[in-house]
Amino acid sequence: MSNSLAGLYYEGDHYPVNDGETVLDALLRQGVDARYSCRSGLCQVCVLQCPEGEIPASAQQGLSPVQQAQNYFMACRCAPLGSMKILPVGADALSCNAEVIAKEWLRKDILQLKLAAEIDWRAGQYLTLWKDDQVGRSYSIASLPEDGYLECHIKVLEDGAFSAWASGTLTPGSNMRVQGPMGLCFYTDTSGGSQPLLLCAIGTGLAPILGVVRDALNQGHKGPVDLVLGARTSEDFYGVDVLNTMAESHENLTVHWVSQDDSQALAKGNVYHYVEAKFGGLQGYGVYLCGAENFVRKMKKQCFLQGAGMSNIHADSFISGR
């Protein structure tokens, strides 16, 4: 229903909202330079504030209690229930300062950034890193708080609004704003550390998965931990030495390298077939999945059908900035 009295009041102007539109859609359609990234309610780049008007619950899901109490909401997730007065939220209000302490290449196109920032996190959660007031992108945390730094693996795209800048401009000593931590894909245990774990990742999905594995082992997890990594070609794998060393010093950790080419006889095939053949029934397993959206969706369903309980599957999809 469209009502000329409904709509958005933003920075002195009125913006009508069409049926089925979100606040973000409506603002962008009418030429407002609203910032956004994932458009899926995950990155919190599009957060705005609504001092007057009703905020649907789904538009606040994932925001902290303090943020919710301040009437912050995600514009991409907000289908207005009535008219809303809206204010921008400064990136500063959502984020804190981080300093780059190290920058290395893990693969010719994957940058490892180590950051120092005053936040608490669990390995496997993610942050939104801000290039400036407009461009923010989400990256998972591979390190533990004990390490003393936040570690992110950034896939650098030639035309990447954030990644190209990070690759070319950031150096140790650079400062940037970071927002978070967000996300629920971190190690949780209700089995006294005995549950078998299956972790599966492709690409830079390795970052949070590496964090979860280290967290589990650090907390004394004794059950079998199987880490399955998939890639198109064996050249795509990274972090190989780190992981193989970890597997050597932890009896219960097995790393499976599954590539689709046969240049190296690691394990040929695709991860889906490999997991199906190698793991049979997944009843009682804790399953952790990270990587591109399609991979996570497909693997989640497969693991569920192989017997893993829905509440035991922890999945983190990488949704690219759009």
């Binding site: 969706r297 989640k300 369903k301 569920f304 059908l305 309980g309 829905m310 509440s311």
Partner: protein, 117 residues
């Protein structure tokens, strides 16, 4: 004692929904309807429905059922497929036949809503 209480209440519902949802996703007559849905969201909705059907605490309304399904042009065959998955789930949980019949009765009571008739 309701089926909900007999199987163990809320903690047991997750396992019951897992069983039901796996059957649904493995049934060729209806699996395709779930291809693009968010699995966790779907799981939660099924849990809400099954909690109601098993006699647990709920706020389920028929209106939700109609709204949720009306754009899908569902047929008797689709409905029956889901009902079969439900019966199979109850059998797996060793629920006695008389209570299975009762729960199927509850499912049938929302048939017109689901089929938008």
């Amino acid at each position: 004692m309701s089926v909900y209480e007999r199987i163990g209440g809320e903690p047991a519902m997750n396992a019951a929904v897992d069983i039901f949802y796996r059957k649904v996703l493995s049934d060729d007559r209806i699996a395709h309807f779930f291809d693009t849905v968010d699995m966790e969201a779907q799981h939660a909705k099924q849990k809400a429905f099954l909690t109601m059907a098993f006699g647990g605490p709920n706020s389920y309304t028929g209106k939700d059922m109609r709204e949720a399904h009306k754009h899908m042009n569902l047929t008797e065959e689709h409905f029956n497929a889901v009902a079969e998955c439900l019966v199979g789930t109850l059998e797996d949980l060793s629920v006695p036949q008389s209570e299975i019949d009762e729960i199927v009765g509850i499912a049938v009571s929302v048939k017109d809503d689901v089929l938008n008739r």
